[in-house]
């Protein structure tokens, strides 16, 4: 009798524990950028909710390529930039709509939330909410490259041989703006966009002899700038601020044509299995204190309402030094990239790479 009841109670408790853990404690597979899920934030989240978090670090292109390969499986939450959501969704169907009722709207800066919702809407559904934002522009060694004020100044003879930028789409867009063109206005018109890109192509080929190398990863660029082999480059604001701590001459400068603004978002992959954990993560990291921890790790500010109060003073000072009010007003925010534009840009980038 006692034996039987023991077996019964064990069975019941196994079922209970099993059932509870299936409902409440999931594994959240997070596909994100370096710095967006610092260890102490993950540990806090795991302690508070019981979910476990597996972090995979990546970048925009790889995120989309990974999700495309599995039809939107393998991850429960991803963080592509807001301009790379509508296009890939129409083309490959790799995301699922956000249930806005599960997101605590009070945690978000309303204007950013509205902008991201607008940019990530396909049909009647919203696919993304904002998380971290920042800009890319010029990172300069001001002692040696003070004359560089704009993207096209990277071609000047004064810095020849000591310049580096990426051979990727931000470079094309930045150069186009600097040449007085408006690539964003031509997004919807393939012929006009091709025309703009061919002008940029000619410019980049003309500039190639003065380029030291096209950098691939952030660490590579850091090494080049630290050693002094490169004095002027195109990079993210955080890269410049990080280097500024080691060498006061190096900092981020918003170019005359305007820094390029990006917003990294939260999206749910189409075949994600832990939506509840994903919503819990979003609502957790958008709390002002937690968002400030992420700002500390990533170096960029978040869309969290009120997190500025908790941000480190030196980071705020660097931000204000790089961005006077008119530079903020001049930030060019990336609109959603229509599907198919990558093919035009790809041809341009390949030809620049091959040019002598």
């Amino acid at each position: 009798m006692t034996k039987q009841s023991l077996a019964l109670s064990t069975a019941v408790s196994v079922v209970l524990i099993g059932g509870v853990s299936a409902a409440n404690a999931d594994t959240l597979r997070l596909l994100t950028w370096g710095g967006y899920a610092p260890e102490e934030v993950v540990a806090k989240f795991e302690a508070e909710t019981g979910h476990t978090v597996q972090v995979t670090k990546s970048n925009n292109e790889e995120m989309i390529a990974k999700l495309r390969a599995t039809g939107g499986g393998g991850f429960d939450l991803a963080q592509p930039s807001q301009d790379r959501i509508a296009g890939p969704q129409e083309e490959f169907g790799i995301y699922k709509p956000m249930d806005m009722s599960k997101i605590n709207m009070d945690l978000f800066i309303p204007s950013m939330m509205e902008a991201t919702k607008g940019n990530t809407t396909v049909g009647a559904d919203v696919y993304g909410v904002p998380h971290v934002w920042g800009t890319s522009g010029l990172v300069l060694d001001t002692a040696n490259a003070a004359m560089v004020k704009d993207y096209t100044d990277l071609c000047s003879d004064d810095v020849a041989g000591k310049v580096s930028y990426r051979l990727k789409r931000p470079t094309l867009i930045g150069f186009a703006f600097s040449m007085g063109l408006d690539p964003f206005a031509a997004y919807g018109d393939e012929a006009a966009y091709t025309e703009i890109m061919s002008q940029v192509e000619a410019k980049l080929i003309e500039c190639k002899p003065g380029v030291k190398t096209y950098w691939g990863g952030g660490d590579e660029l850091m090494g080049l700038l630290r050693s002094g082999e490169v004095v002027a480059s195109m990079a993210w604001d955080t890269g410049g601020w990080k280097l500024n701590e080691d060498n006061a001459d190096i900092t981020f400068v918003a170019p005359a044509a305007g820094a390029l603004g990006w917003v990294d978002t939260f999206v749910l992959p189409a075949k994600g299995k832990a939506d509840d954990a994903a919503y819990a993560w979003i609502n957790f990291v958008m709390q002002p204190e937690i968002a400030a921890m992420i700002t500390e790790a990533a170096g960029n500010f978040t869309a969290s309402q009120g997190a500025d109060e908790f941000a480190a003073a030196d980071l705020k000072a660097k931000y204000q030094a790089s961005f006077p009010q008119e530079a903020i007003d001049n930030i060019k925010w990336y609109p959603p990239v229509p599907a198919g534009l990558e093919a035009i840009e790809g041809g341009v980038l390949d030809r620049v790479k091959a040019a002598n």
């Binding site: 292109e61 790889e62 989309i64 390529a65 495309r68 890939p88 129409e90 083309e91 490959f92 169907g93 041989g161 051979l167 990727k168 190639k208 380029v211 030291k212 190398t213 096209y214 691939g216 050693s227 002094g228 082999e229 599907a339 198919g340 990558e342 093919a343 840009e345 790809g346 041809g347 980038l349 390949d350 030809r351 790479k353 091959a354």
Partner: protein, 285 residues
């Protein structure tokens, strides 16, 4: 008894068949099918040869492939020229522990990953790197010299990366050459050059051919070394494939490139075998 033998044979064959079909045959069929799709609109595709046409119509792609093939051939030749004396020394000139020790020394660099080895070369070659500083210290140059980011740097990296794959087959074949035959060559009036030409090279031919094939294919398919050491001049065919798949989301063109690489590199190896009068059976046997 016979059925048991058959069963054993089938069981032994299964892993090989699974390997070949699941990991090699099926993915290739899939890639081939992808390469035949042409994007005609948002999420719409049709079957066509457009991607292959792109490869032949855009001179850039064909040019990149040619460049990759020529650079890989040169790398193979340089590797052979450097590895042959090294292998001959290891196989014939020394014996015992010194032989094992030297062979081991050739292996040691391969205990770290290719990435680390390539970083090592970057530290040596860069403008603020070791070579540049030593040259300045010796007073041979006035200012810093940049040795990275050019074809020469790529070549150094490729040869260094593939050295082992040339040394191993060469040492194996050279060791099987009896010393008496070389001595007999000298006894019959041969000199160093004629013995090398008439006896050693013909005997080592299978090792040379298999080493060359491996090194050529490794160089052709290398991604890391050309990208990291070549910098802005690092146009390499595998890089084109990577960027089509990952950066441009253009899997169709990337798949077509992958297939062209398979076909063209096989054709080059076949052509080289024919040209030198070798055959794969002789090399393997």
């Amino acid at each position: 008894m016979r059925t048991e033998a058959k069963l054993g044979f089938a069981l032994l064959l299964t892993p090989l068949l699974l390997w070949l079909s699941l990991l090699i045959f099926v993915p290739h069929v899939d890639i081939f099918l992808v390469s035949l799709r042409e994007r005609i609109g948002v999420g719409q595709y049709q079957t066509s040869l457009a991607n292959y046409l792109t490869f032949f119509q855009e001179p850039l792609y064909l040019w990149t492939f040619l460049r990759t093939a020529v650079m890989s051939s040169v790398a193979t030749l340089i590797t052979l020229v450097i590895a042959f004396p090294v292998s001959y020394y290891i196989a014939k000139m020394i014996k015992g522990r010194a032989q094992s020790a030297l062979f081991l020394l050739c292996l040691v660099p391969f205990w770290v990953s290719e990435l680390v080895r390539t970083f090592g070369w970057m530290i040596l070659l860069r403008e603020t790197g070791v070579f540049s500083n030593v040259l300045q210290y010796l007073g041979l140059v006035d200012g810093p010299v940049e040795m990275l980011y050019n074809d020469g740097a790529i070549m150094v990296g490729l040869v260094y990366t593939s050295m082992l794959f040339m040394v191993v087959p060469l040492v194996t074949t050279l060791e099987s050459l009896p010393d008496e035959i070389i001595e007999a060559g000298y006894d019959l009036g041969g000199n160093g050059i004629s013995v090398l030409r008439e006896i050693i090279i013909p005997h080592a031919m299978p090792g040379i051919v298999s080493g060359c094939i491996v090194v050529f294919m490794l160089s052709l398919g290398n991604y890391l070394t050309p990208t990291m050491l070549g910098g802005k001049e690092s146009l390499w065919f595998t890089e084109l494939i990577y960027s089509q798949f990952i950066v441009r989301f253009n899997w169709e063109l990337g798949a077509a490139f992958g297939f062209m690489l398979l076909i063209l590199s096989s054709a080059i190896v076949w052509g080289m075998l024919k040209l030198t009068g070798q055959s794969l059976e002789k090399t393997m046997g």
